[in-house]
Subunit: 332 residues, 2 copies
């Protein structure tokens, strides 16, 4: 198995990517190889700073350009054919690698995946899945920001995509699917939510548990939480920042009290770097999107998720499920 | 000044309400009187359990009915004319009291306020304001759940309502107004957000600081955060539950380590009961909505907010501002 890693994506590229890549190779087990995509000279310089580089498992593919954060995603993908994102996705498209990971511009990674890998047959809108920690496990939020102004049938597709991801990657046999809403009753919420509720309730292949309010997310009342990408993105970014805020308050108080308290478990539970990036679900390939501010640990964990996603054949499972639904007349 | 308090609203009514009322009278200062609305016998029984009841500052108005959580708000308001919510709001409408506070069904309090108090002239959609703690102060979220499927000009009205509230109740002379969105650039987000951004940027009387992402809320990048009630409600409930979740983890860890750490400041910062309920902005009166699960402290603080809202003449300020804008041709 070969995984492409955009070496120029993060705020501190390529140092972070190289460190994360080496950590993955050293600790994850398996025989996968990593293809580092980006400026060859910078990557080699970075690699030379580390001892014990397993060079037989690392390959560099040169990409002279870099897409910056402020650029228009679709334009940048079209114009910067030599960018690490375009080069990496082309490798994936051609079958040279089995997955692509980037901590670069989320918009560009998404646009590039849609334009180069293309959506899977019968997927109207690929969606970003994001994993949130809860009281007793994790919930997959779909869509965490790929689409705004979605229609009810898009949200039903997100439910299918999320179900497969939860089965393949989160180890949940029959994922409970919830609809993010502002009340428990089926008719509650905006037009999108009310109509989506009706559709999800009628979908035989989805284990729909009904509406999930903001306060129910943490209570882990579902494994897959379906929503429009606008709400999902606000929620995801808010959660990460709240966690950071509280952890900071905690450190300050603990320091003030000179307390020797071990917050490792709390920090781990709240730390998004544990979850290794967000999958772009519904494209014809494996794309994992990481934060621009990712530390090496997040890159390492994204590589773990990419390897598992390939091993467990998630893309095939999505295709099979959507084809069966189409045969049964359930997906237009 | 006379403040009506729905004594039958909370999950543990009227015990909580009576305790909160007595705490307010004992600790807030001033000469306001409280009108407890609800089942006279239950309220008197509850009062008799306390010593030192300042009976000259407490009045009971009997209301034999109670609106339950599951009921359709508008229907319940029409049918249960003897309910504590309807009786309390009628007292306000008639000028017998200056404000109304309830921890009952949010939907019913809102529907009742709209039907009985009515919206102020030129307000299309009254909105719920909710105060969220941030790193360095508070932000008022408008709308926290009164309206879904809003139009851009509604959000502009929320910005005006929120600006007045922040000036009158939060002590901010020139409140920074942000628009909740999923990117910094003006054209980002869904159709609602993009068009609202354009309108807010053109509004001379609003100190618009642009788009605010989920992660910027905690950084306190604005004082008033404008959004659709669907997103606002999800965000508010999520925040409260996340805070509770983290505080619980914290207690568990601290107990396990037998650490003597004082988390008072953290708990206080995250504790919604500090903020004393959410104002319904834009109705012709003062309505404060509390959680069903409010402890006495939250009721006490809601009474404080109600007293201040009346003293500082917020409703008059809203009316004056909207009238001036209408004269200037800025509000349709």
């Amino acid at each position: 198995m070969r995984i492409a890693l955009d070496a120029m994506g993060s705020d501190n590229a390529p140092a972070i990517e190289v460190e994360g890549a080496l950590a993955a190779l050293a600790t994850l087990g398996g025989t996968f190889k990593l293809v580092l995509v980006g400026d060859r000279e910078s990557i080699e310089a970075e690699l030379s700073r580390h001892a014990d580089v397993p060079s037989e498992r690392i390959e560099i593919v040169h990409a002279p350009e870099r897409i910056e954060m402020g650029e228009s995603p679709a334009q940048a993908i079209r114009r910067k054919q030599g960018s690490s994102i375009v080069v990496g996705l082309q490798l994936h498209k051609q079958g040279d690698v089995d997955a692509f990971i980037s901590a670069g511009s989320t918009g560009a990674v998404m646009a590039g995946s849609l334009m180069i890998l293309r959506p899977l047959p019968r997927v109207d809108r690929p969606a970003i899945g994001a994993i949130l920690p809860t009281r007793s496990g994790h919930v997959l939020l779909v869509d965490a920001g790929a689409n705004v102004d979605t229609r009810p049938h898009h949200l039903v597709q997100f439910a299918h995509l999320g179900t497969i991801y939860a089965q393949d990657l989160m180890g949940v046999a029959t994922p409970r699917v919830g609809l993010l809403n502002i009340g428990e009753e089926p008719e509650k919420g905006n037009e999108l939510a009310a109509e989506t509720h009706r559709l999800l309730a009628a979908e035989a292949k989805i284990n729909f548990v009904g509406n999930i309010e903001g306060r129910d997310i943490i209570a882990h009342e579902c494994d897959v939480l379906v929503c429009d990408g606008f709400v999902g993105n606000v929620l995801l970014k808010f959660y990460e920042s709240v966690a950071g805020f509280i952890v900071q308050m905690l450190r300050t108080e603990a320091e003030a009290a000179s307390a020797k308290l071990d917050f490792t478990r709390i920090f781990k539970a709240l730390d998004y770097t544990e979850y290794g990036g967000a999958p772009l679900l519904g494209v014809n390939g494996v794309t994992i999107i990481c934060h621009g501010g990712s530390p090496p640990r997040a890159i390492r964990n994204a590589i773990r998720v990419a390897v598992q996603t390939v091993e467990r054949e998630m893309v095939t499972h999505i295709q099979t499920r959507l084809a069966k639904l189409a045969d049964a007349g359930q997906v237009s």
